[in-house]
Chain length 268, copies 4
């Protein structure tokens, strides 16, 4: 199955401004791409990329004053199968986790594990110490938080989501990640493309999406506290502790996003 | 100059509990050690160490139920000179920072760069875009925050420090780091030993200390918003985005610290 | 000058729900009304009112399941002159304020005076201890906060406004009130009708508005950190410590606002 | 039964400073006093009192530069019986509460009812809609929060107590009050003397105490989420929405408390 993916972002830039971009497909997913990757940055010209410490491919540009247009287009081959589920998997003790998982047990900007630990144990302390605990967390967030674009704001943390019970996809994942870490389950934040293959058409415009990965058994598994069902055709772009680490663009100065188009659909 | 360093921590552990330890000297500083490094963990026995993604040397143990005693002792050779100052250094544009510095521009658990950006520019936006801006930040924090052990709490963030104007050494650094990042200066959190060589004797008991590192010119420089003067004899243990990343010990279950001794003094 | 004022609010109510309404004109302003006051609550019938401890006229109903329609319409006579300015007035010492003003020096839900005191003195401590200090606060808020309906949220406090620098009219007032109280100037929150008499037509739909009152000399003076100019035709509905005390409607159970129309314009 | 009550507070005052004092016995409790009330304020001289809008007796002084000594001593007659319990009482619907109770349903500085509403209904929504709901709230707070003087801080809110699970008596009450209001039960904050009559001697020094009052049936009932048992010999000093309204002393300028003694014990 071939999926066409891409995006076009347009910014107004009042004065030359450095920007970090995380707009490539993640190196782990890039072998399924049909074309070489390139960000067309108009009028910047060549874009140099590097791999950050999370393993994401990132770029850095200096946007000149004026209109900046960033464009990416590619085709990715997908298995066409829904992602695996976690049924039957065991939780790993912190004592025998791979060391590199430990970093995903800690608090981060949007995931206040320290403040939410007692709450997490109140809510989930009596669930079985297996995949069912992870399931319970993701179900709880899915069932108790209401989706709405108007509920988005840049400073919103897991704790805010817990009290306001409203948010966008990133907020759902932050809350679930925070609960999981408080329960000693490594959990990380992921972002990428997610179309509507195999599901009723979503009335929302196509957009980037966020999900999460939790470590069970011997691997990281994809979970999605917003949609809460296995999906076909996720294309990973970035992973990190939370949304701070995988912002699509980070401007070091004032810029204004004036155009935003994302596509992800079955290639004709 | 030889400095003897070490510590002894005692915990009561109600049931077997995994723990992460960051109690070694940092690999960058370890070449000055006179003895091989070892954490004596009684009654755990052998302790296995690994290097985390920040470059810190960490260990993981499972503390059995009962009393846990962690002990470390060593001698380190020091130049005997105060650390270099930042006078005259230039600030780097984000556009030409080494890519690995970029991670230290972002928000983290205790450093809410996103929420404090406007405040930072209000306070420091008119300072020269040189080392003097960094100096102004560190001076401001030093002058406006009152030190006191009773002001410490685990959930305290840079933002709390800004409003309460009270804290311990970690709080001073978190606030300065947050301002620096908001001003596009890479800043990271450091922890280690700091004695009183060359300064009037501090009435406080010897303790671990926190400081910060900022990137100017072509290197990271040590700054300390609490003491705010060049010091002799800092021995680095860990570096990270903030205190989350370099907690001396992280317990995945309930443990109680019942003994805490740190030493760092001129070797006889 | 005659101004026609009124509103129609429509709610969907899933089950019988008690509601508090603060939809009358304030008793201090009611003598200028041309008609007796009445809230038409359909299908509730008679609405009983009482005066709350702030001196506001309030009502309480039990909304039955179904659609609730609240309607108010009246005509008020206005002097046609802009409200007085504070130029030349002296600040009162806390020592000789009328006792009933003291309550408006304290912290409240949306005005965290305790947390913002140091910030207020940093920003305004060097202004003259006269009406100019009040002017400086209101100007600062007006100049540093950006208006936008999308920035509204029910839990937003003065502190949030200070860090996010965005909000609706209530947010502007909360921030200014908090600064004023921190500077020992009594300040209270006010809500009511505000049309566009004498000003360029506002592109926003007519709405209720919030402003503030500060105590200078021997009286309370109207100030408005959002519009920041003397206006003609404010019609007071409620006063309180902050928006908590003068919510137009408070539902003790889930209700959904489905219609909202406000009018305030020169009577033909 | 006669109880001797009183206190002595000593402040260092760097420059003349207005202060509000709430150091009298509450007018509702004052008829049981054996002596006329007086605050000896040395060197202020005469102290003028007024009744605030909550019905508390308050005073205002201007403390001159130097040492300020405030002293109060009295004897109060007590019934010697524990306060009544709430067993069997019904909860009132918001629809038929006395109007003056409604103010105690709203959010206040330390009681973020708006942010904690969903949490309160999660925890207590399935309890019977009777006195047992109130009992469940008070028991939950008592059982889940740990007492310790070191956990006190001036900015601590109910929400902080909920996440940190630690606090002093005022923190216990703030959390219980917030839950009760979220559940539509009027609840207010009270402060006063509380000795150890009829209970094992408390190892803590005598101190002022905080408790709460909730409206059930046709009256306000005393509850205490910290001690959680009926007590003998509470002497009420002040009531309000939360601790903001009944601070023992509020200084409008910097003062330092250097001495603090409270007595409340059976008169010989």
């Amino acid at each position: 199955m071939l999926i066409r993916i891409g995006h076009e972002l347009i910014f107004e830039v009042p004065r030359p401004t450095p920007m970090l971009l995380m707009l490539y497909v993640h190196p782990d997913a890039a072998r399924a791409l049909r074309q070489p990757e390139a960000i067309q940055a108009d009028p910047v010209g060549a874009v140099e990329s590097f791999v950050d410490w999370f393993g994401n491919r990132a770029a850095r540009i200096v946007a000149p004053a004026g209109t900046l247009r960033l464009r990416y287009d590619n085709v990715v081959e997908d298995t066409g199968r829904p992602e695996p589920t976690i049924e039957g998997l065991r939780l790993r003790s912190v004592a025998d986790l791979p060391p590199e998982c430990c970093r995903y047990l800690l608090a981060s900007r949007y995931c206040e594990v320290d403040r939410m630990s007692a709450i997490a144990w109140d809510l989930f302390g009596k669930t079985p110490e297996t995949w069912e605990r992870v399931r319970a967390v993701v179900d709880w967030v899915h069932d108790n938080v209401t989706f709405g674009y108007q509920f988005s704001r840049p400073t919103k943390t897991a704790f805010d989501v817990f009290t306001e019970r409203q948010g966008v996809c990133r907020d759902f994942q932050h809350l679930a990640i925070t609960f999981l870490r408080a329960l000693n389950v490594p959990a990380r934040y992921a972002t990428g493309y997610l179309g509507d293959i195999g599901v009723p058409r979503d009335p929302n415009p196509m957009d980037f999406s966020a999900w999460l990965e939790a470590y069970l058994g011997d691997a990281w598994y994809t979970l999605d506290a917003r949609h809460n069902q296995p999906r076909i055709g996720r294309v990973l772009m970035g992973r990190g502790r939370d949304a701070v680490d995988v912002a699509l663009t980070t401007s070091f100065g004032r810029t204004t996003l004036t155009g935003f188009t994302v596509w992800t659909e079955l290639a004709a």
